[in-house]
């Protein structure tokens, strides 16, 4: 391919844009993180408070991914395979959590489960805390990540031909066996893609959790809120440790998804 002047200009401008907005900021934060030495960085990552917040984030992310795998796949299945009243409306509203700003999500959950609301008051009298406690974190994360698996599984289900399932059924397989042996293997890559997206979103989520969970160290402080707190108190060194860890996870999830995509493309051929 010969390169002409116009193409070269476009390419340089694109490189400049990605360089300024993505590459340079990443280089800046990593070089700043490693400037104080590896030992210093490690100490910041494993400091009691940082480690607690990161562990809480990881556990919460795993819980919501597990729940989403079931609810997301079931939702996609029901939307594609069954008919019921107001189905189209529900299908359209699945994307609502993506459209609504995360801070607004947090506020909405507070109006519903906060101590002053009916549901929140009822639960609180029974000793169940939701707001400013861990269940609130899970609820917020479930809300913001709900569409990921639904939206990655749905198109695959739509394109799936029913002949394999019918064959299994004629051969006497139970619905459960058909699902496990025929449907699930076809859906698995798209479920995994949605799960990876949910996971990465859960690790980084900030707005809704900042509202819902408060900022109670060693209780409801997740990684992103911890980082924000450290930046606010001008302790950049403390913030750098977990930032680098989260960045590493972002790269890992992206790589995982690229591998997944490459593999599913190979099967298509």
């Amino acid at each position: 391919m010969s390169v002409n002047k116009g193409d070269l200009t476009l390419r340089s401008l694109s490189l400049f844009y990605i360089g300024m907005l993505i590459i340079l900021p990443i280089l800046a934060i990593t070089s700043e993180a490693f400037k104080g030495g590896l030992q210093n960085l490690w100490a910041n990552i494993v400091s009691t408070q940082a480690l607690y917040s990161f562990r809480l984030t990881l556990i919460a992310a795993f819980i919501i991914v597990l729940i989403n795998i079931f609810t997301g796949t079931a939702t996609a299945w029901v939307l594609v395979r069954y008919r019921f009243p107001l189905k189209d409306l529900m299908d359209a509203l699945i994307d609502l959590p993506f459209a609504i700003p995360t801070v607004v999500t947090g506020i909405m959950l507070v109006t519903l489960y906060g101590p002053m609301s009916a549901a929140g008051g009822f639960l609180e009298r029974r000793g169940i805390e939701i707001m400013f406690a861990k269940p609130g974190i899970i609820l917020a994360l479930l809300f913001v990540t709900f569409p990921f698996i639904v939206r990655s599984v749905q198109p695959v289900l739509l394109e799936m031909e029913p002949d394999m399932e019918e064959a299994a059924k004629t051969l006497g397989a139970t619905p459960f066996t058909t699902f496990r042996r025929v449907v699930l293997p076809t859906l698995a890559p798209s479920i995994l893609t949605g799960a990876a997206l949910s996971f990465s979103r859960a690790l980084g989520e900030f707005g809704s959790i900042a509202i819902v969970a408060g900022n109670i160290p060693m209780k409801t402080q997740v990684a992103s809120v911890y980082i924000y707190g450290e930046i606010e108190s001008c302790n950049n060194q403390g913030a750098l440790g977990l930032s680098v860890v989260l960045l590493f996870f972002s790269f890992a999830v992206l790589t995982f998804m690229n591998i997944l995509q490459a593999r599913s493309r190979r099967y298509e051929r």
Binding site: L13, S14, I29, A92, I100, T102, I231
Partner: protein
């Protein structure tokens, strides 16, 4: 279900038990998880009444924050539409070393925590950052000021237009452009008259996504802005501020307005989505 005469083993009798239980559970889950919070905020704002609603939205801080969100959104859409189309053109039509790596980097803003994103820009453009100290010597403030907030919004919305236009562009091929070129059209003419109309709906969809994300962005903008009232406070930061100041009525009102705005964007998107075939739905 179809009857099949040649079948030797009996087809299991189709029972509706699984269908009904599954449908019922999914609807209940959806109502509790997604619809109930929407009801919650509606109820709260209605209970507060029209007086408080009008007072909250007409406070100078609220008006200023919504104006600021509007201008940042317009700027982000303008810049990322131009660069998004450019990135898509370069990635689809050109081949060069390191292209796959760069293409992967375009997705990074989807995966990075907004707080970390904001922090990256503090490290780069802050007073002691590589570029910040250079800008500082010319007395240009980026962090804790408007330019930083625009940059943070540009970062989080960078993938949308590029990612929506790329599949459309790849699908479309180059035959028509070559035809236009052979007929004597200049590159510029070819772009305006042939390429742009073909990517139109992908582009509109990408812009809608950019719009939705820009008005809703919180973490990245909060970190770089310093959240100074009447100065660097966008609508989402205003909501956060009102909430932490225990001014719940103000927070609820502003939240409802943003929710209605995003809901309208969602409806526009559903209409646009029907017009285009290729591309991602969301993220």
């Amino acid at each position: 279900m179809k009857d099949n005469d040649v079948c030797i083993r009996p087809i299991r009798k189709q029972s509706h038990f699984i269908e009904y239980t599954l449908t019922f559970s999914v609807i209940i889950w959806f109502i509790i998880l997604v619809m109930a919070p929407v009801y919650g905020i509606l109820r709260e704002v209605i209970r507060n009444g029209a007086g408080i609603f009008i007072d909250s939205i007409s406070s100078p801080a609220a008006i200023h924050s919504f104006k600021l969100t509007f201008w940042i959104t317009v700027t982000a859409i303008f810049i990322n539409t131009i660069f998004g189309v450019m990135l898509a053109l370069v990635f689809v039509k050109q081949d060069f070393r390191g292209k796959i790596f760069l293409e992967g980097l375009v997705d990074l803003p989807f995966a990075v925590s907004p707080v970390v994103a904001g922090f990256m820009f503090i490290m780069l453009f802050g007073p002691n950052g590589w570029l910040g100290s250079w800008f500082g010597s010319y007395n240009i403030k980026i962090i804790y000021a408007l330019p930083g907030m625009v940059i943070a919004t540009l970062f989080v919305t960078l993938p949308f237009v590029a990612r929506e236009v790329m599949p459309v562009l790849a699908e479309y091929g180059i035959e028509q452009e070559e035809a236009a070129y052979i007929l004597g059209a200049s590159k510029w003419q070819t772009f305006w008259k042939v390429t742009l109309p073909s990517i139109k709906w992908g582009l509109v969809y990408g812009i809608t996504l950019t719009f939705a994300r820009s008005i809703g962005e919180f973490g990245a903008v909060l970190v770089v802005s310093g959240s100074i009232i009447n100065k660097t406070q966008t609508a989402t930061l205003h909501i956060h501020q009102q909430f932490t100041d225990f001014n719940y009525a103000g927070a609820f009102t502003a939240s409802l307005i943003l929710a209605v705005l995003s809901f309208s964007i969602l409806i526009i998107m559903k209409c646009v989505y029907k017009r285009k075939e290729k591309g991602y739905r969301w993220a």
